[in-house]
Symmetry: C2
Subunit: 343 residues, 2 copies
DNA sequence: CTGAAAGCGCTAACAA
DNA sequence: TTGTTAGCGCTTTCAG
């Protein structure tokens, strides 16, 4: 078992070589202004010459800061998350922070969270927390620095950044209603995700205000997944009286629906109107031109990082809840229903 | 400045509480078989009771192992990478390793690599290395554990996992040639990426063997990016004599091309045949049904992790180069050219 | 089987 | 302005 980096240069090596104390090397490293210009120069030269790289592990042990932030993500292959991830990564590096990433889907939340805590990450940004997550709850009780991005957890006191899911879904409903749809199906998200609950609630509220009732048989589980949405849409389309419109609780499911419609030779929006949620980049592609609800994803991600950074500095400050507006983006997947017979 | 985790329980706390030495606690933690069953039990109970989480930082300082692996990725929002990332993440956690992720695009390679080295990651998996990368070269010289996944770097001695880019591109060319195409455009990748170079070489070789010459004016820069591909395709379509076929050096560019074609009202494959490379999941979607070259991405990713894990154990062992086969997948974006006038 | 003690490489008082 | 010293929380000999 060979030690991987046995011959790593240390600050003591630098000190010896430069003829100063190890503490001085440390000062140079941390830009301590008290170090004499000359000394600094001498030390810097040696550092350069020996190719010294400070050991963040040792530093972390004493500073109690790892500059590491945990970012568990349910499913990176869901294109919603890469957009979030990109923005988070960018903002983190602006704060001098590094990301410990976990593709959390599948594995038990508690396991990967424990790993993050062992690693002494300075904080965690949860992007896919479930409503009743015991892990998040326990972390919150221990006042562990974290922010819930995109989704929140019921009754947990901590920083939260979300979009206006209720309002966005309401806008989606109003759009569909206005077009004349009455028989509307919904592809649900994860049953335990706040996003799904809020979006359904907003949608339902608007529909009921219009004096219409959502047919429970048309509320289908989708789990925010492409595959499930694809299958459900196929099934929906085979119904005796298929819906004229379909509200998908996220864009990825809308793509599943659109592809299923194509497969079933159902014309969109003539036979079926489709609305998504999130407005990820692909939604604007000519292949989809999806009508959807836009959320300022990048901004939300950046804000999450900022909040976390502040939280790490001031763990005891009161927690904040930021809600970002959402906006209906009309594109080509929605139109009036074909016949008013269904209305 | 409040210390974030000031009140973290340490192994000494556990020791005191359990009435044993701190060393014994450490032994229990690491499953040392010499510890008496009774002692182990007592210690474990206290650990449980006080909610103790071992400090990986402190451990890393002495073991010289962080169990962290750096994974820089050029652009997570390019859907090719999430598929790689997912597989890498899964395999890493199987090895008890955690991922330090960087969305490297934009920032200088040297900067984020330095961060990883400071963090004392056990190794790095490069997924987007450029052919002449000085950083990779210098890391290799210092025998830093790393594997080049997907792309390699010229003249660098280290573990490499790639697909058969040359062979795959050749298959793409033969397919197009067989269909009767003679006027073929190519959307290139990153000029300094081995993938792009090899794919172009393979494609060119096959075309020239058929006694045809690639029109240099139809070799367009695409940078593996959707946007560039979209723009270039639009331009290509406006040519006096547009190409009848387009070989895109990755799938994402093919999607750009397909969407551009739609925008320009060019029928695929009637007016333009399109071939991609990678066969990411989306390529099979009804919206695209892209003819492309399949690479065993997940398998390549898993292999990369395995190689790295082995390399960390045996830094001096001789390096390996694994090439995975590629395969033409015929779908709906390719067909014979409309008129033989162009042939 | 268990404890004592010596660090790992760094930062941060405290002196000088 | 610089050096000395004491740890940070662990693992790992070395004794016993």
């Amino acid at each position: 078992m060979g030690s991987p980096t046995a011959l790593m240069v240390t600050s003591s090596d630098i000190a010896k070589e430069a003829g100063v104390s190890q503490a001085t090397v440390s000062r140079v490293l941390n830009g301590d202004p008290r170090v004499a210009k000359q000394t600094r120069r001498r030390v810097s030269d040696v550092i350069e010459r020996l190719g010294y790289t400070p050991n963040a592990i040792a530093r972390g042990l004493v500073t109690r800061r790892s500059n590491l932030v945990g970012v568990p993500i349910a499913d990176v292959t869901n294109p919603f998350y890469p957009e979030l991830l990109e923005a988070i990564a960018g903002q983190l590096s602006g704060h001098g922070l590094k990301m410990v990433f976990s593709n959390s889907g599948g594995q038990p939340e508690e396991a990967y969270t424990r790993l993050l805590v062992e690693q002494r990450v300075d904080g965690i940004i949860f992007t896919s927390a479930l409503l009743d997550s015991p892990t998040v709850r326990s972390l919150a009780e221990r006042r562990f620095p974290m922010v819930l991005a995109n989704r929140y957890v019921d009754g947990v006191e901590c920083d939260v950044v979300v979009g206006d899911n209720h309002g966005g879904a309401r806008a989606a409903a109003e759009h569909l209603l206005e077009l004349g749809h009455r028989r509307i199906a919904v592809l649900l998200g994860h049953p335990a995700a706040s996003t799904g609950r809020d979006r359904l609630a907003g949608f339902r509220a608007a529909v009921e205000e219009a004096g219409i009732e959502l047919d429970a048989a048309l509320l289908r589980p989708g789990g925010y997944s492409y595959d499930a949405a694809y299958a459900e849409t196929l099934a929906l389309l085979e119904l005796e009286r298929p819906p004229t419109a379909l509200f998908c609780l996220n864009d990825v499911m809308a793509f599943g629906a659109l592809n299923a419609a194509r497969r079933a030779r159902a014309a969109v929006p003539r036979d079926l109107s489709v609305v998504g949620f999130d407005d990820i980049r692909m939604s604007a592609w000519e292949a989809f031109e999806l009508t959807t609800i836009r959320q300022p994803l990048a901004e939300m991600a950046r804000t999450s990082v900022d909040l976390l950074a502040q939280r790490v500095e001031a763990p005891a400050s009161s927690s904040r809840r930021l809600v970002f507006p959402s906006l209906l983006v009309r594109r080509s997947t929605t139109g009036p229903p074909r016949s008013r017979a269904d209305a």
